[in-house]
Amino acid sequence: MPDINTLIEVALIIVKVIVVSLILFTLPIPLTWIERKVAGHIQVRLGPFRVGPHGILQPVADMIKLMFKEDIAPDKADKWLFKFAPLFAMVPAFAVYAAIPFGDKITIPIINKEVTLYISDMNVGILYILAVGGISVYGIILGGWASNSKYALLGGIRSSAQMISYEIALTFSCIGVVMTSNSLSLLDIVKLQSGTILGFIPHWNIICQPIGFAIFFIAALAEINRIPFDLPEDEGSLAAGYHVEYSAMKFSFFMLTEYLAMVTASVLTVILFFGGWNAPLFMPEIPIFWFVAKVGFFIYLFMWIRFTLPRYRYDQLMTIGWKILLPLSLLNILLTGLFLL
């Protein structure tokens, strides 16, 4: 029989996992509404306006629609893979959050117990996140292949080539951060970004890794398939890309994955380059608040970019990835090494 403290720890971890998963499951619901509203206002129109005040109930209506829609599978599709592909995409998107720290520690007032605001502090945290995040590509490839449709297959092939190409630049841009923080643990990386340089500039990695940040951000845009790199679901030439044959709940799993990927990219940008939960300048430290605020800003930035920039051509995409970002990220590692010496 294990003692009571271990049991409490185990129960605490289970509670944290459930809370984080629930938040992640519900997060896309407001995000779809915000995205359409942002789109509307950027393009000087209203966006969703019919369901509820300012269309705020639109996601609920969409959810009901997706749940009750007929679930169609193409006749010659690979039945098993067709069913499992959305799960292949979704599970890694959730699994990434096992290693993401949302804050350091807080003390719950009444029972006076210290609770850490992360599920686990792995000493290979950043590697784990990049590795597990990379598994998401299976959902896209298999979904595209199993549908037995030309458009879906082409979308799947395009996106697998794109994600593998940009994963290299993404990983290499993280190496600069790892070198300056001398740790692979995300908790240590954030802790080292507290304090200031010269008394007024926050000691965030963006200051010492500007090239790294630029590469990371562009590669992340490509990795989560957002405009200007949303070639996998190029409506103009591919209908809707890899999920063209999916409907109802299976389709919504893919949408959920895409929104979660956007959240993950924002979270990683904040943790690696913008000081995590450290407050900017001389603002007071409030647990979680600053973290959520910064993540929210980056989510908005992703939406902003989506409705501002046009899409790249496929050959341009590959040129940017292999001929510009990859050499630049290697140069960044070299420069970081020279500065550290």
């Binding site: 893979l81 590509v137 593998i164």
Partner: protein, 167 residues
Amino acid sequence: MEKLFFLIFAVIAIVSAIGVVSLRNPVHSAISLMVCFLQVAALFILLRSPFLAAVQVFIYVGAVVVLFLFAVMVLDLGKERFGGYLHHQRPIALVVVIGFVFVMGFTILHGSLDAPLGNYTEEALVKNTEIMGKLLFTKYVFPFEVVSFLLLIALIGAIVLAMKEKR
């Protein structure tokens, strides 16, 4: 507890490995291979080598099998379904399998489960990524460079083969 997890991972790894060679559809084989690699990564975690586990997922699951799938998907699967893929290899395969079983049996019977810890204490090994990096670039720098050189040669070889096909 640890033994239970080991058994779960090992059984799934072996079943999926059998799936890789016995499934008819190459895409299904590739997925089995991915499952097998994931189980091996889990075994690395049980062996307290989180770095190796992460790298296993990163390179094998995230890149190698994706490239396999990428290549297999564009094949005409109607023709490429494995029919008669044992081209008179049965006797050779038999010899290799018997040899493999013999070597495995010998190692299992004569090996020990507790390897000596060497220079490092249990605490120092928590940060084993750092130790591994230092060793790779000091003590084992020569084999490390040889391996990267071999990989480079393989890379150039692959490009040369692909170039010939084009002409």
